[in-house]
């Protein structure tokens, strides 16, 4: 299933590694907050209260308030949903497109493979953030465009991965048999080759997730992507930055939210990599 290792072994190793367990817990918490966050939030994400602006953390406002008196805790809870949604969509788009390109490339081989892989190489010649910024600038600043921009830069790794899988599978007897019985290429690709790619792609996706969230938050911080007053974490850090020396909470709490999210994915990803690399599995 995952090279030399079964799902059961995988789970056993995962549970033994305390750091990746911490990662798993952080991510579980993130997804739970993304779902029920809006119900937990004590205030609305856009409810302003100019009299109580830039109030420090207190019992009324656990994380304090921002420059318009909005409750930071509530905004961070709502923001979780935005971050998770963006990351999942980016992953679905880039993973989907990458996988399809990869299996076509690997299965057909020859000229098609050559062209597709050279295009992949050209994409890899760009630093990701720069390419994402360029695309976001060309499309216009808006949250949907950030999803497109980041997906535009993230599909390459999935394409290479899926291509490798397809190359391995296409020699298998059952694929030969399917071809012999007259199955069309389309059918072979999607019924026999695609399923084999799914678990490596999901695993690679988990490893890539931290980087995707960082890129999205970075774009938000710079001023692309979500625009104020959207409670996107990167935007909130950029907002809070203007009140820095006195109202530190306005940028510290959203920043910590990004950090713990990415930390969760990185710890988990690190654990996965350790398990898949037999030399590290000690």
């Amino acid at each position: 299933m995952l090279g030399s290792i079964t799902w059961r072994d995988f789970t056993r190793h995962m549970l033994k590694n305390r750091l990746s367990l911490v990662g798993l817990i952080l991510i579980a918490a993130l997804f739970i907050i993304a779902v029920i966050g809006p119900y937990l939030a004590p205030y609305g994400p856009y409810t302003t209260d100019p009299i109580n602006k830039l109030e420090g953390p207190s019992r009324v406002h656990l994380f304090g308030t921002d420059n318009l008196g909005r409750d930071l805790l509530s905004r961070i809870l709502y923001g979780a949903r935005i971050s998770v949604t963006i990351a999942v969509i980016v992953l679905a788009v880039s993973g989907g497109v990458g996988t399809v390109i990869g299996i076509i490339s690997g299965y057909f081989g020859g000229g098609i493979d050559n062209i597709l892989m050279r295009i992949t190489d050209i994409f890899l010649a760009f630093p990701r953030l720069i390419l994402a910024m360029a695309v976001a600038a060309a499309l216009g600043r808006d949250l949907r465009n950030v999803v497109l921009a980041v997906a535009f830069t993230s599909w390459t790794i999935f394409a290479r991965l899926a291509r490798g899988q397809a190359l391995a599978v296409k020699q298998q007897d059952y694929v030969e048999a399917a071809r012999a019985t007259g199955a069309s290429n389309f059918r072979i690709l999607f019924v026999h080759v695609l399923p084999v790619c799914i678990s490596p792609v999901i695993i690679q996706g988990t490893i890539a997730m931290g980087g995707i969230i960082l890129t999205v938050a970075g774009l938000g911080f710079i001023g692309f992507g979500a625009q104020p007053p959207t409670p996107e974490w990167g935007v909130m850090v950029a907002d809070g930055r203007n009140y820095l020396p006195t109202a530190w909470w306005a940028c510290v709490f959203p920043g910590l939210a990004i950090m713990f999210t990415v930390l969760g994915f990185n710890l988990l990803g690190d654990g996965i990599r350790d398990i898949l690399d037999p030399r590290m599995r000690r």
Binding site: I222, G234, L263
Partner: protein, 335 residues
């Protein structure tokens, strides 16, 4: 080896062509109307028409493309609307500042990374091992802009130890330009107190950028040290009665370092990416901040110029690592 290098260079030419083409596509084909991106929405009809002509948009797309490639090959990246200078001049002016920042950042990241990697391997499974791994992965998880802001709060606002923005106080005079690298130029001019000031300005941004690199360096140093430490020759060195520090630093580390060097080389390319956010937070006048400002003001000539410039650097860095690795590791066969 020679044929390998030639093949890699030919490949490089192809990649550069690809980078230019994709950038053209992003700048000219993706925006529904490039003029709308430049002019305000209520611009009069004739202004829009004039701008179309000026940007060459009334010509067929392949003519635009040919003109664009021709310009780049002649070093003409157009003029920035924002700074009103030729884009290439801007890039060459800011580039040394990014190099200065990245070199120091990589140096800091490498020193910290290798030390933690060694400690981690020697004390495998102990508290120090866990600490190093967490520190490394934490650095990878901190958004560079957030690390920067936290360091500014701590070291500038609370402790008042270090300055927070720029390369040097704006009221001080820059040394005469010799190399373009600020600290080198200041050294040449002999103004040592200014060198100290500049180094102080450099510490926080360099650490912010360098921390991003420690994660991969710790990881690889740790794993290759773990592979080296059980070897026979390490046991022999110990039996000879050598001090433990000599055994680890001279015998084990030396042999464990090759993968680390590769990773450090690969980090050179990613530094350019980290520099974008780091420079934005610290108002560091480098390529990254120039890129951000150009992208935000949709200054298309600058956007295209900076994208191509950075991607060239990125590809060259990767090529250099490949060649260096082949040189360092004779086991690799060039096929």
């Amino acid at each position: 080896m020679l044929s390998y290098i030639i093949r890699r260079l030919a490949w490089m030419v192809f990649v550069i062509w690809g980078v230019m083409t994709l950038t053209f596509f992003i700048a000219r084909v993706i925006p529904a109307d490039p003029v709308a991106a430049v002019l305000p929405s209520n611009a009069p009809e004739e202004a829009i028409e004039r701008m179309r002509e000026e940007m060459g948009l009334n010509k067929p797309i392949w003519v635009q493309y040919a003109k664009y490639i021709n310009g780049i090959l002649h070093g003409d990246l157009g003029t920035s609307i924002r700074t009103r200078r030729p884009v290439l001049d801007d890039l060459l002016r800011y580039f040394p500042n990014t190099v200065e920042l990245s070199v120091v950042a990589l140096f800091m990241g490498t020193i910290i990374g290798i030390s933690l990697g060694i400690v981690s391997a020697v004390r495998q499974g102990k508290a120090l091992d866990h600490f190093s791994r967490v520190f490394a992965i934490w650095g990878l998880s901190m958004p560079a802009f957030f690390t920067g802001l936290m360091l500014i709060i701590l070291f500038s606002h609370v402790l008042h130890w270090l300055p927070q923005l720029g390369q040097m106080p704006s009221y001080m005079r820059r040394p005469p330009k010799v190399t373009g690298f600020l600290i080198l130029d200041t050294m040449i001019s002999g103004n040592w107190s200014l060198v100290v000031t500049e180094l102080k300005h450099l510490i926080l941004p360099a650490f912010t950028l360098g921390w991003l690199s420690t994660a991969s360096i710790v990881r690889i140093t740790r794993s290759s040290m773990l592979e080296t430490l059980p070897e026979e020759y390490i046991k022999t060195a110990r039996m000879k009665g050598l001090r433990e520090s000599t055994v680890i630093l001279k015998h084990a580390l030396k042999n464990a370092l090759l993968p680390t060097i590769t990773i450090i080389g690969l980090r050179v390319a990613s530094l350019l990416e980290g520099a974008v956010l780091t420079e934005t937070v610290f108002s560091w006048p480098g390529l990254g901040r120039y890129a951000t400002a150009s992208f935000l003001s949709i200054d298309f000539s600058a956007v295209v110029g900076v994208t191509i410039f950075i991607s060239f650097l990125y590809s060259f860095a990767n090529l250099a690592v490949d060649l260096l690795y082949g040189y360092l590791n004779p086991k690799i066969r060039y096929t």
